[in-house]
Symmetry: C2
Subunit: 222 residues, 2 copies
């Protein structure tokens, strides 16, 4: 499978790129608004993987080109760039492609981090509204600690919650999650249930801030 | 320590009563609007504990009397009864008592369970508004599966998130949580951070509904 990571030069994009390149044989494509930046980052990931004895073929492209080459497109961009990123690549998506949204709207104040629920009900719903009708949107990978994900020496042993209205698309993304060593997909329902999933991200940040030794904390349901 | 469980005849109240009576030497007081109902339930818990060789002194009283006898008062009532329950026992609370709110506002529709955020920002904030000024309010025990909690044969191995603005009160409640075998208190900040904590409850219900073998699911942060 060909997976594009738009915003694949950022924290969470880097982690997912490295993990998929390390643990699976899928083709990982790094997207950025700046093609050169994407190429440089892809090269960096290849070097990192090479140093661990893993031959990988991570490549970098401008977002539209990256989206065009992929079956699954992860929009690893901040929530405030989600709509314009999806609109910018809409023409490059094929019918049946799966668009994955890990973005969460948050606001920080003196009390900590808070979930900033958009008028659409969730950021995942925002992505679904912005995506072409023949592209299925799935929310996933919201609550993964970026540093832990990007550190291939770190054991994950965490869950990622997956929401979506298209069962096949949810299955595809859940399998991609399960293929990462130590990561498990847990279904949390449809896009109407995305707000409770996205709210876990500010929660884990608050937990990391309020408890010693819980930096980079993850969540496990059992 | 003397712990009252207002609504201690309900699901979550039963679980907390049994666990504290089983795992600690604290005095557990069951409260209900109906004193006789409280007495009957207390007797039921004593019988259950007795059958497990644990001599306990669980007693039942009308809510006001239960609150008057306790240092820590857990309002294990539905969110829509929280304010009137607190107001009904306000005169029975002593300065320095700790009021614990495990209540969560939720609404169910065809898509599943959703967090129903009150205008105050959270149900815990609602409890803080209703409580006397000299009583500290702590949010805790929201996301525990009632059946698993009340089944003393079931291993917990789960976390409960604790929020509060009074550090001493948070410590008191966290210790009470930690004294239950398999339960761990994790701080999630102040009352301003309660919404993200309360939203975990509809999330775990949705997870239970959408995944086989995850009935009575709990959450663990690590």
């Amino acid at each position: 499978m060909d997976i594009a990571l738009l915003g694949g030069t950022g924290d969470i994009g880097e982690g997912l790129a490295l993990r998929w390149a390390y643990d699976t044989s899928h083709t990982v494509i790094i997207g950025s608004r700046d093609a050169e930046r994407a190429e440089n980052k892809a090269e960096e990931y290849v070097t990192e993987l090479d140093s661990r004895g893993v031959e990988s073929s991570v490549a970098g492209y401008e977002n539209g080109e990256a989206a065009a080459r992929a079956d699954v497109v992860v929009c690893a961009v901040p929530a405030y760039h989600l709509t314009d990123t999806i609109e910018a690549v809409a023409a490059d998506l094929d019918a049946g492609d799966v668009l994955v949204s890990p973005a969460v709207g948050m606001k920080r104040d003196e009390d900590g981090m808070h979930y900033n629920k958009p008028g659409t009900g969730s950021v995942t719903a925002l992505a679904a509204d912005a995506a072409p009708d023949d592209v299925s949107v799935v929310g996933a990978f919201h609550n993964l600690a970026a540093d832990r994900l990007a550190n291939l020496d770190a054991e994950l042993d965490v869950d990622t919650l997956v929401v979506g209205d298209d069962e096949d698309a949810v299955d595809t993304v859940s399998e991609l999650a399960d293929e990462v060593e130590g990561l498990r997909a847990v279904s949390a329902g449809g896009i109407a249930n995305a707000a409770e999933v996205e709210a876990v991200t500010p929660l884990v940040i608050n937990i990391a801030m309020n408890n010693e030794g819980m930096h980079d904390v993850g969540v496990k349901f059992h």
